[in-house]
């Protein structure tokens, strides 16, 4: 397999995009909130960024920041009434939100209805323009322009993901992360510890939504075409299944889930039209045999124990 094949590069880029989405669903879930609204927020981010670059000709960085801000504002407005809901009720409400966003995008003039927005200038092209300015071009590396664009996009995506991941790990180990985790475990006890539940649930919801909005903005500028159906119910379920299949107790869980679900279809090309059937079966199997996901906190405990046992065994000899 040619690693520099633009197609392969794009698949890997989408993998990293999905990893960012996995972090976004993990943040929301880390306070115990089951949100199915991430596709809706992705859609808002995608359309905001696309309209900003296409109609108003803004630089992509500004457009993406705008996407984050707009998604954040919508999350605040939607979150305020819905975060009083728990578990399944929240899932249903946020699922409804996603559908409302889809229908709005389908009917607005600025979003061009069902045809969506096309002919966006891709992130790769913009990056390549930038690279040419500072005197790097495809010939320097002996690859084609398309490869260079795809490679640049991938590199930017990897850097972005690493930054987001580091931030998330730091957050997990901080006072804020402990508050999230306490709320997930027991809201009453968390309240008794002086944690302002409403504030922290809203914070987690907004961080997750804004990350989804950012992913949406980037997604639009990789595919260069978006339609409301790119962010439908299937997308919401796909994002959630990263966490359901991978597990949501530790951050590795959803990351593993995203890798598995993005990577498998590529290897199981034969299954193509049965992809959703496969997803479904995998979901059922995981829920039946690993209700907390494939990777849980105790997965590492066992591993650690085995390691310490083997070292103590060596010590005995």
């Amino acid at each position: 397999m040619d690693l520099l094949n633009p197609y392969t590069l794009q698949v890997i880029t989408f993998l990293f995009l999905n990893l960012v989405l996995a972090v976004s669903i993990y943040v929301t879930l880390s306070t115990g909130q089951l949100s199915l609204g991430h596709a809706g927020f992705m859609s808002i981010g995608a359309y905001t960024a696309s309209i900003a670059t296409k109609t108003y000709d803004m630089p992509i960085l500004v457009a993406l920041l705008l996407a984050i801000v707009v998604t954040g504002i919508v999350a605040l407005i939607v979150g305020y009434p819905t975060l009083r809901l728990h578990g399944l009720y929240l899932a249903i409400a946020t699922l409804g939100f996603g559908e409302v966003v889809r229908v709005i995008m389908l009917n607005l003039k600025v979003t061009n209805g069902a045809l969506g927005l096309t002919g966006l200038k891709s992130l790769g092209t913009r990056l390549y323009d930038l690279e040419k300015v500072i005197g790097i071009d495809a010939q320097t590396f002996g690859i084609t322009v398309t490869q260079m664009k795809a490679l640049s996009t991938l590199i930017v995506m990897v850097i972005l993901f690493v930054i987001i991941l580091i931030c998330q790990i730091r957050l997990d180990r901080s006072r804020v992360g402990r508050a999230f985790s306490a709320i997930k475990a027991d809201e009453t006890a968390a309240r008794a510890m002086g944690i302002n539940i409403t504030y922290y649930k809203m914070l987690a919801y907004m961080i997750g939504s804004m990350m989804a909005g950012l992913s949406g903005g980037i997604y639009a500028h990789i595919t260069t075409t978006i339609t409301p159906d790119d962010f439908n119910y299937h997308r919401a379920v796909e994002i959630l299944s990263f966490a359901v299949i991978g597990g949501s107790e530790v951050i590795i869980g959803p990351l593993f889930g995203a890798t598995l679900l993005t990577g498998l279809p590529e290897f199981l090309r034969v299954l193509a039209e049965y992809k959703m059937l496969f997803y479904g079966s995998l979901l059922i199997a995981v829920m039946a045999f690993r209700p907390y996901g494939l990777i849980t906190a105790s997965t590492f405990d066992k591993w650690k124990n085995r390691k310490s046992r083997s070292t103590s065994g060596k010590g005995g000899v």
Partner: protein
């Protein structure tokens, strides 16, 4: 007066759980709240900690009214509690549970956590040291890194106390801390509560273990069917005819 309950009443739908209960708690004392099951003791705890407001009456702490104040603000003011049915954060280690308890006495927010500002790092070090200190105080230093839901029952009870103490409370509410404990554990608990009081924390104790209550408390309030039936020093309560009747029933006088 640290805590003052004035004529508080609580109804759930048509059921009156509490009516017209008043008592006061002076700083530095241990007050025992006793009464048969269902008398309304936990309801009083829930109203003091803001889980739900009283239907009538007022609760003041350190001169401030607690009615309608959200639970996290009440904790910030200096009231901490444990729960009758232990409510630890099961998936966290003992140490992490206590760290959560330090939420109100620390400040680090979202950005300072992401950026690892020196101030945040210093705070984290302090949180760790103080939490370990508290674990040692309740005698759990050896199990700091053990998942709290795998601890022994008595250890979980003491961990809940350490977690509550982490909020740096002026008043500590203990809801049946000795429930399910064997005698040696109860003795340790007795010592622990005395130590807490000697450190300057006022204690309000709900408990069914009478020897513990009578030995430990400076003052005892007894309620039955949502009404206060007696208040006084432990020895007065032990001989109070209404208290005896509430616990043992009345002999038929035919």
């Amino acid at each position: 007066m640290l805590l003052e309950l004035k004529q508080i009443g609580k109804t759930f739908g048509g059921i009156t759980a509490l009516s017209d209960v008043s008592f006061q708690l002076e700083k530095g004392l241990i007050l025992g709240l006793i009464g048969p099951n269902g008398a309304g003791k936990t309801t009083i705890f829930n109203m003091i900690t803001g889980i739900f407001p009283p239907t009538t009456g007022s609760i003041t702490f350190d001169g401030k009214s607690l009615v309608q104040m959200p639970p996290h603000k009440i904790t910030e003011l200096g009231i901490a509690r444990t729960f009758q049915n232990i409510r630890l954060f099961g998936h966290m280690t003992a140490l992490e549970n206590v760290k959560v308890g330090m939420h109100t006495v620390t400040k680090a927010g979202y950005w300072s956590s992401l950026l690892h500002l020196p101030q945040q790092k210093r705070e984290e070090r302090h949180v760790r040291e103080r939490s370990l200190e508290l674990l040692e105080f309740v005698g759990l230093q050896d199990v700091a890194d053990v998942r709290s839901d795998t601890l022994a029952y008595g250890q979980q009870r003491r961990l809940e106390i350490a977690r509550a103490l982490a909020t740096n409370p002026k008043l500590l509410l203990l809801d049946e801390p000795a429930a399910g404990m064997i005698e040696s554990e109860t003795r340790q608990l007795d010592e622990l509560i005395r130590k807490i009081r000697n450190n300057g924390t006022t204690v309000l104790l709900v408990e069914h273990d009478m020897p513990l209550v009578m030995g430990l408390c400076d003052k005892v309030v007894c309620i039955n069917f949502g009404v206060k039936i007696a208040e006084g020093r432990p020895e007065e309560i032990q001989n109070h005819p209404d208290v005896i009747e509430a616990y043992l029933g009345k002999e038929d006088e035919e």
